[in-house]
């Protein structure tokens, strides 16, 4: 059960406390004081405080079976419990290593947590190639279930890939697959289930760049950064919200995964850095100027003066 008698410490603060701004707030009722204080709190501090508070209410034991279901649905793309690291760390024993509040803060918004300056969170962020974990807005009950499930796995997880490396999925894969992968990537070959081409959002260092700006990652080194297992998880069961939506019910097949991975392996081997390109901007401005010129030509015979203009000017001339 949840802790229901948890009291927000701020509510027990005596009303004669001096406000952070230095003014005396004694005459205010307690709830009003609470709102005032919140407004004066620094954004990050407040969010961390709130997260910790939410986590604290979730400390009570949850249901490990429900947690397992949730874990399999949302976490297994990147994490294992004792199966070695994928995109993210192996989570075996994580509940012994970190507090429930810490885990909750990281899961709900790792980016906010990292930005708040938590040393351990930053270390993990750096270790995993600067890829931040997507936010998972689990409620207190779900978080408790998840913690209960993860709590079943004690000991230390494998910090690196398991000692005997799994056989490469790209055994005997050659140039034909690399080419098919490139064509799948930029859309010349369509995905069987109708998903959008990778190039819709991702950049690489190859041709057809034209514009190197994107909100999605540059995937040039993803084969090295994520490894085969991680890449497979990210491509086939993405938990990044936008990618998950784009490939919802349009899963990438195994027969498409292998060529894509082969292409990404080829890219990472080249280790060229992406060339800055702003063709969109250049051609856009040139095109806009041409378009305005076209309008001027199309409407060259437009009426630019009143019909009586010549008469008016003649009269003015005759007066002078």
């Amino acid at each position: 059960m949840f802790v229901t008698d948890f009291k927000m410490p701020i509510l027990t603060a005596p009303s004669h406390i001096v406000h952070p701004t230095g003014t005396h707030q004694g005459s205010l009722s307690i709830p009003t004081y609470n709102i005032l204080l919140n407004n004066h709190m620094r954004k990050s501090l407040f969010s961390i405080g709130l997260l910790a508070l939410m986590a604290a209410t979730a400390l009570a034991q949850g249901d490990p079976t429900a947690g397992e279901t949730l874990f399999k649905e949302k976490c297994t793309a990147c994490h294992t419990m004792g199966g070695g690291r994928l995109v993210g760390p192996d989570l075996q024993g994580v509940t012994e290593k970190r507090s429930a509040e810490w885990i909750a803060s990281f899961v709900r918004s790792s980016a906010t947590f990292i930005a708040s300056g938590d040393a351990e969170a930053n270390a993990i962020y750096q270790e995993y190639s600067g890829i931040s974990m997507p936010d998972h807005n689990f409620n207190d009950g779900e978080m408790a279930n998840l913690l209960a499930y993860m709590g079943q796995f004690g000991g230390t997880g494998a910090s690196t890939a398991s000692t005997e490396p799994a056989p490469s999925l790209l055994e005997g894969v050659g140039e034909a697959e690399e080419l098919l992968g490139e064509q799948l990537f930029d859309g010349r070959v369509k995905f069987a289930n109708g998903g959008p081409s990778c190039m819709s959002c991702h950049t690489t260092a190859t041709s057809y760049q034209f514009n190197d700006k994107s909100y999605a990652r540059n995937v040039n080194m993803s084969y090295v950064n994520l490894g085969e297992a991680g890449l497979k998880a990210v491509i086939q069961t993405p938990s990044f919200p936008v990618m998950a939506k784009a490939f919802h019910e349009r899963k990438i097949e195994d027969s498409e995964l292998i060529p894509l991975m082969a292409y990404l392996r080829k890219l990472s081997a080249n280790s060229e850095t992406a060339q800055a390109s702003s063709g969109l901007l250049t051609y856009g401005f040139i095109g806009a100027l041409l378009l305005i010129g076209l309008f001027a030509m199309l409407w060259a015979k437009r009426k630019t003066a009143p019909v009586s203009d010549s008469i008016y000017k003649r009269q003015i001339k005759s007066i002078n």
């Binding site: 081409s197 514009n211 969109l280 051609y283 378009l291």
Partner: protein, 246 residues
């Protein structure tokens, strides 16, 4: 703070679209029934025509192409993805959109300058005109920003935003993907809903009564009044029914 942002997302990405659609539908009908004769934009071409050309033409031409582009990604997302399946076609599409987007920006700049400086136009300018001009400027700047910084919009629109808009119309709003998009894209979406809200209450209403039949109407319409008696009779003042103009 997280719950605060979730509430914002819920309001702007779920509440606002339904609010916008309702206000748009009810407002358009209400305005048509109450002030039918003013169901258009007040033309200022008689007052000033030279500057207007460099504002109105680039703006409207750009708007036509950009609007149809957004509409086709909404109505035929598969078709857009199919078109984009060759990178060169994708780039051609994106550059065309960007060019016409810039044309809108140039046109809007000229229109704003004209309204600010021309004394005759100043007289016929109301506050709603300024609201609309600012809103459209915001829309075109964020639109160009998104096109340049978060490429290739035509592809991810069709696979991420189209399902979101469909989910709104299916009354099962799903903002899981759209709420994770960068804030500039969200601002562009919210701006679009605001434009929809304002259509019935501004000069944008002409969008609903575009005189499309100008394209195939006869050059001249001649009416013969052979029957002098009926022409002069007060009981036949209106040939079909008395107009309800005001």
């Amino acid at each position: 703070m997280d719950s605060f942002f979730t509430a914002l997302d819920n309001f702007f990405l779920i509440g606002l679209p339904y609010l916008a659609l309702t206000v748009f539908l009810v407002g358009s009908i209400w305005r048509y029934r109450s002030t039918k004769f003013k169901y258009s934009s007040l033309s200022s071409q008689f007052l000033e025509g030279k500057q207007l050309f460099w504002g109105s033409v680039p703006f409207h031409m750009g708007m036509l192409v950009v609007f149809l582009g957004h509409l086709s990604a909404l109505l035929i997302p598969r078709g857009v993805l199919l078109w984009n399946s060759h990178p060169l076609r994708l780039i051609a599409l994106e550059v065309t959109g960007f060019i016409f987007g810039l044309a809108i920006l140039i046109g809007l700049g000229n229109l704003i300058y004209r309204r600010l400086t021309n004394p005759r136009i100043k007289v016929v300018t109301n506050n709603m005109d300024w609201i609309i001009l600012s809103l459209l400027t915001l829309q075109v700047i964020t639109g160009l920003w998104v096109a340049y910084n978060f490429r290739w919009g035509s592809s991810w629109f069709a696979s991420v935003l189209t399902p979101y808009v469909y989910s709104i119309f299916k009354l099962q709003p799903d903002i899981s993907a759209v709420s994770a998009l960068p804030w500039v894209i969200k601002l562009h979406i919210v701006g679009a809903y605001t434009v929809v809200v304002l259509i019935p209450f501004s000069r944008l209403v002409h969008f609903l009564v575009v005189p499309i039949n100008y394209i195939w109407r006869p050059y001249q319409q001649v009416m013969w009044n052979w029957d002098r008696k009926s022409v002069r009779s007060t009981s036949t003042a209106w040939s079909i029914k008395r107009p309800k103009n005001n």
